[in-house]
Every structure is written in C-alpha cells, then in structure tokens.
C-alpha cells in the first residue's frame, strides 16, 4: 500500500508541474481551452465521488453547475444589496449554494436508487433552465446575464486567459487532493461499501442516510465551483449556458475517464471539451482515410463525430482512461510490492 501512496503523490506532483508550466508552451487561447477542460475536470471529480464511489447515478449535474454559475453571475454583477462581490470570492459561495441544493436532492435519493434516482436528477436538469425564465427580473431570463471580464488580481502580470487557467487548475488540484484524501479514508470506504451492497453496508454500522446525502452535497459543491468558473470564463450566463445535454456529457466524461478513478477523469474532461468544440478538426482528420469525404462545416457533423468517437472509445477502453492507467501501472506496483 505504501508504494501505491508514493506513486499517487508522485503522479500528483507531476500533474502539478505540468499544469504550472503548460501556459509557457501553448498560445493564450489554448490556455483558455485547457482552463475549460479544468472546469469539466472539477465537475467530473464531484460526479466521480457520487457515481464512481457511492454508486448513485446523477443525470442532473449540469443543473448544479448552473446554480454555481448563476450564483457567481448575480453576486458579481448585482452583488449583495447593491455591493458587487469580487468574482473570485463568489466561487466558494457558489460551491456552497450548489452544495446545499445537492443536500436537498440527496434527501429523496435516500429512498430511490439506480434508474429511479437517475430519472429524478434528470428531471432537475430538465426543469432548471425554466427557472431563469420564470424569474426573469432576478435571473435575467433567456437574455441571460453579462458578467464583467476576468482580470488577474493583486497586480499579477497575467493575461485574462492565463489567470483563469491558473485559477481553475489551482482549485482543481486542491479539490483533487481533497477528494483523494476523503476517499482513501473511512468516508471512501463507507461510500464504496454502500455502492457494493447497501444491506451489507448498513449491517456493518454505516449510516446510509448520512453518507448518501453527504456524497450528493460534496458532489454538488464541486459542480457549483465548476459552474462558477465557467461563468467567469464566458463572462455570460443564460439557460443555454448549462443545457440539459451538459449533464449527459458529464456522465459521458465520467464513463470515459473511468468510474472509481480520479486522475483518469482529466481524459474524460478533455474528451468532452474537444469533441464539443473541435469535432470539425476530427472530421478533417477522418477525411484523410480513403473513401471518406466529410464536409466539416456541414450541420450536425459534430454530433455525428462525437457519437462515433464515443462508441470507439467505449469499445476499445471499456474501463475508461482510469482502467487503462491501472492496467499500465499494475504490473509495476505488484512486482515492486511483492519484492519489498
């Protein structure tokens, strides 16, 4: 076990160094793209805790992102009784507000599981976009809310994109460490026990109600933080910013990243970002194959490519990127472990 711990810490450090030096090697715009990948990664971490560890499926995490995004929008533009809050301080608040919403959803989750729970959460994803339309004066309706552009604080000499990149990945690394620390201790064991068998878990003295709601709360907190960052980066929120399909994409990212693996989720996050925004590039690559002639500008081509890539990934990597990582490292860890 010791060796696994060392490997995990080494991996974390390697990731942190990679994150730190990345902007020096890529263009300013790519920093922004990686920042958005980081936001998806944060949301996926939360979903990983919930679905990967406690086994509760949520098809409504886009709604928690939306709650976070709207919290940031309202606090940084309208503020509290007319005093706008500085954007970075809205992030933890957004996380807490979304987290509370998550706890609320966690309550019915106690009675439902599997498909039924998934449907409830899907209902939330479907109905949430209606709220800003209903309360147009407060939430901005379909016209949405325009935020101030992000700017590096404390006189830091950073472009807005580099700033949002470091902010996002700084938070992502902290939240990754927190999730990792939480999941390797008793909480993680309790959640996994619940996932494997609720009856067995309850009979070994695990408080089902407490842990299941907790998982929802934590997971929604993560999504809220991701949503807050996304709102800041876009400088704009409206109901379409967090569409229903986003919730589905997150589940897709989780499956691609691998259930029960935290680091693999980065691959999941990258996939959902790049397939959404660069499917035309993929179409151009595919065109190099013989007898293929796709028009990258054709409507709907991005959805088709997205679907095709997804099927391929799931066929080739049924356990996701996390499964692949484990497969690569297992011979190494077991070998070294048995020798020592």
């Amino acid at each position: 076990m010791k060796l696994k711990l060392v490997l995990e810490i080494l991996g974390f450090v390697a990731l942190a160094v990679l994150v730190a030096v990345m902007p020096s090697f890529v263009s300013d715009f790519h920093s922004r793209e990686f920042a958005i990948v980081g936001m998806y990664f944060i949301a996926l971490l939360g979903l990983g805790v919930l679905t990967g560890y406690s086994g509760q499926i949520s098809l409504g995490h886009g709604a928690f992102m939306a709650i976070g995004g709207y919290t940031t929008a309202i606090l940084s533009v309208d503020g509290i009784s007319g005093h706008p809050v500085r954007d970075i301080w809205t992030i933890p608040i957004a996380g807490v507000v979304a987290g509370l919403a998550g706890l609320l959803v966690g309550v019915p989750a106690l009675r439902l599981s599997g498909l039924y729970l998934a449907l409830i959460t899907f209902g939330i994803a479907v109905s949430f976009p209606q709220l800003p339309k209903k309360f147009g004066g407060f939430l901005g309706g379909t016209s949405g809310q325009i935020l101030n552009l992000v700017k590096a604080p404390f006189g830091l000499d950073l472009t807005p994109n580099d700033w949002i990149y470091y902010l996002t990945w700084g938070i992502a690394l902290v939240l990754l460490a927190v999730a990792w620390w939480l999941l390797r201790g008793p909480t993680g064991r309790a959640l996994q026990a619940i996932r494997d068998s609720e009856v067995a878990a309850a009979s070994s003295g695990i408080n089902l109600a407490f842990y299941k709601t907790l998982a929802f709360g934590i997971s929604a907190f993560y999504a809220g933080v991701a949503g807050a960052l996304y709102a800041m980066a876009s400088a704009y929120v409206n109901p379409d910013t967090f569409p229903i399909i986003l919730s589905i994409y997150l589940v897709v990212g989780l499956a691609v990243g691998g259930l029960g693996s935290l680091a693999g989720l980065i691959a999941g996050a990258a996939l959902i970002y790049f397939l959404q925004n660069h499917a035309d590039t993929v179409a151009r690559w595919v065109n190099h194959l013989p007898a293929v002639d796709l028009n990258p500008k054709q409507p709907g081509i991005s959805s088709a490519i997205f679907g095709a890539v997804l099927i391929l990934v799931m066929l080739l990597l049924p356990t996701g990127a996390g499964g692949l990582l484990r497969k690569v490292f297992r011979p190494l860890t077991t070998r070294l472990y048995t020798r020592s």
Binding site: S24, I146, L149, D157, D162, A235, D240, K297, P299
Partner: protein, 406 residues
C-alpha cells in the same frame, strides 16, 4: 503533511511560470500585407440554421472581391463558426475568433442575444463588432457605452412603429393580437408597434410571448385566437413563425397578419399554408431573389452569378434564398467600409469608416436606398417599403419609408 507542502511548492511553481508567460506580441491583429481577417458566429445548425446562409452569402461575395484583387491589394479572409443560435456558444466562438484566429473585426454575427452576449467583451477589447445581423435598437442607439458596435438592418422598434402607423391609417376598428418572442428582439417590435399605434394602442386586445427555447407556439396562437382579434402580429423567428402560420390555418382563423422582416423570407412563406399566408404584410429592404419582380434585375443576376461561381455547395434553392442576398448586401457595405478605412486599416479607422458611410447603389438592396451613418446615427439601413404576400410572391407597395429612429 506532505500533501500540503507539495501543494505549496506547486502553487509557487505556478506563480513563477505565470510570471514568465508575460509578454506576447501585440501588433494590429488580423491585418497582414496581403490579408484582412474577419470573423463571424452564426447558426449553421439548430432551429435558426437557415438564417446562417447570411454568412455563406457574405463569404461568396468576399471571394468574388478577392478574385478581383481584394481591397487595396489585400484579400479578405472570412471565418465563420456555428453557434446553433445559442448565445453561450456564440461567446465561445467569438473568443476563439478574436484570441486564436486573431481576426481584425467581427462581422455580421447573427442573433440579438448572441450579439448582446459578446458586446461588452468585444468593446472592452476594442474589437469592432460590425454590422450585426440583428435589428435590436440598442446596437445603434447605445454607441456611447459601446463605441465599437454598429448594427445594419432597420431597428425592430421602427419596424413595429411602421406596422402601427399602417394599421391606424388602413384598418378600421382594429383588434390586435401579438405573438412575440420574449426577448429584446420581440419586445423591441412590440414597443415600436405601441408607439406607432399612438392613441390606438388600446386596440391591442391580447399579446402572448413565447420563449425562444420552447418547442411549439400553437398554444399561444390558440390563446390569441380566443381574443377575437382581427389583426395578428407575428413577431416570431424561424420555425416559430412557420408554426404560427400553420396554427392560424388549422384553427380556421382569418386575421390580417403582419409578419416581421426577419421571418418573412419567401422560402419560408411559400411552405406555410397559403390560406393563412395570403395577404400577409411585411416590410422589405433587400431584393428578394425568389420574386419574379427582380428576375431580370442586374443586382440579382450579379448575386446569382457570384453565388454559382464562388459559393460553396450551392443548390438551386439557394439561388432564391433571401438570406444569401442579405449576406451579400452586408458584405458589399463591409467592402466599402474597408476601402474607406485607408491603405492600412486599423480597428479605429474601420470604426471611423463605418460611422461615416454614404453608400448609394448597393446592388442587393431596393433601388433608392442609401446606406448612411454618422457617428451619432448608427443605423446604416433605414429605408424600407411595405410588401404584401400574394400568389406565392411578395409584392412591394407604397414608397420608401424612413425607419430611422428619431
């Protein structure tokens, strides 16, 4: 704790790398010795996809200009991205175009919300937001706050006012029902209509908004019919306008319909039930390639030959699609603006040119229309005629009327 220390080291490393990533080149973006790069975000998919043909029309015109030597020896490169009519994606596209593609200016992006969502961002970065494909009055009116933005088509509020004045003059005892898109676009039209009606604004007996993300407006139309109105304003866009005509026909309702310009394309009008569409009134400022009126017109002939020669994947239907002509008309003005902006255009000089236009003879708009702007009047196209749908054709009637806000 090891973890905490590791984290601190990482954050420190991040800060150092961040400081190193400071300076980046900052010349006039998007203009090189032989190229000017323009960007746009339009719907190429989703319910408003048909309107994305505006960008395809503009693209063909720029290629035509390039084939003739470009503007002052520079060819125009035009990159447009699909936003599915979703403002969030329009934000992403715009940021990508400005930061990654390094465009010189944004040109003719489509949609009211979509342009509103990026207006602040573009103005804060001093990137021109030229000739937006939206008639929301704010794009021409609020230039003090947003000096880098300018509209193109007649403001919706004035279009509404024109309908209002027409009703006052020509319809006895009007009882008006309004179907409108519940955003700045729909509300602009409604407020203009009220102004045009003046004292007769009382004759509005019902108005129902619909949400641009909803799926069908049949319930709204049913509700409006119940008001026993004899006039129906269709301030709806794309598929919603289609659904409105369908619903009117299905309900056997026979009001005098007014349909706003952006939904009045012949391509759209000819596929709705004609018993509802016949006699509908709209405004017009572009030449309609589907109309027999312009069959032998020089401008429309030019339009069709450019599209055939320089357009991409052009079908015979596209040659009669008004969105393509609208795109070409805007591109024509854009080229004139670039010519006016000097040998070596800057973002400032192109803005200056766009606010000092006096363009006569744009071949793709109605004869007699002058595209005119001053720094204090930023509504380029403000002359329109009324038109009536008859026998599968729009028939303009009356003289050119002013749609310039006072």
């Amino acid at each position: 704790m090891v973890g905490v220390r590791v984290l601190l080291v990482c954050l420190l490393a991040a800060a150092v790398a961040a400081a190193a990533a400071g300076a980046r080149p900052n010349a006039t973006p998007g203009v090189t010795a032989n190229e000017i790069h323009l960007g746009s975000s339009v719907p190429l998919s989703g319910e408003a996809a048909i309107a994305g043909n505006v960008a395809r029309g503009a693209e063909a015109y720029f290629k035509y200009v390039n084939a003739r030597g470009g503007v002052n020896g520079r060819r125009i490169k035009f990159t447009y991205l699909d936003d599915g009519y979703d403002p969030g994606r329009a934000v992403n596209n715009t940021i990508r175009l400005v930061q990654q593609e390094q465009v010189f200016a944004m040109f003719s992006s489509l949609g009211t919300n979509n342009n509103l969502a990026v207006r602040k961002l573009l103005n804060d970065n001093k990137v021109p937001q030229l000739f937006v494909s939206s008639g929301a009055t704010t794009f021409g009116r609020d230039y003090k706050k947003y000096p880098w933005t300018i509209g193109y088509i007649p403001p919706y509020s004035e279009e509404g006012a024109i309908f209002g004045r027409y009703i006052v003059k020509n319809i006895k005892k009007p009882k008006i029902a309004i179907l409108y898109q519940d955003d700045d676009y729909g509300r602009d039209l409604v407020s203009g209509l009220r102004r045009g009606l003046g004292a007769k604004a009382k004759s509005i007996v019902a108005r129902v908004g619909y949400d641009p993300t909803s799926s069908d407006v049949q319930p709204q139309v049913t509700q409006l019919k119940a008001s026993k109105a004899n006039v129906l304003m269709v301030f709806a866009f794309g598929k919603f306008s289609l659904q409105a005509f369908n619903a009117v026909s299905r309900l056997n309702w026979k009001p005098q319909i007014f349909v706003n310009d952006v939904s009045s394309a012949s391509a759209l009008m000819s596929i709705v039930p004609q018993k509802a569409a016949n006699g509908a009134i709209s405004i017009v400022f572009g030449k309609d390639p589907a109309s027999s009126l312009w069959k032998s017109d020089k401008g429309i002939r030019l339009f069709q030959s450019i599209l055939k020669q320089h357009g991409q994947d052009i079908t015979s239907r596209d040659l009669k699609d008004g969105y393509f002509t609208a795109g070409m008309a805007t591109a024509y003005t854009m080229v004139n603006t670039l010519k006016k902006a000097g040998r070596n255009p800057t973002r400032q000089s192109v803005m200056n040119a766009a606010t000092h236009l006096n363009e006569k003879g744009n071949p793709f708009v109605l004869p007699g229309i002058v595209i005119h702007t001053t720094p204090k009047s930023r509504f380029p196209l403000t002359q329109v005629r009324l038109q009536r749908w008859q026998d599968n054709n729009w028939r303009p009637f009356g003289k050119l009327i002013s749609a310039r806000p006072r």
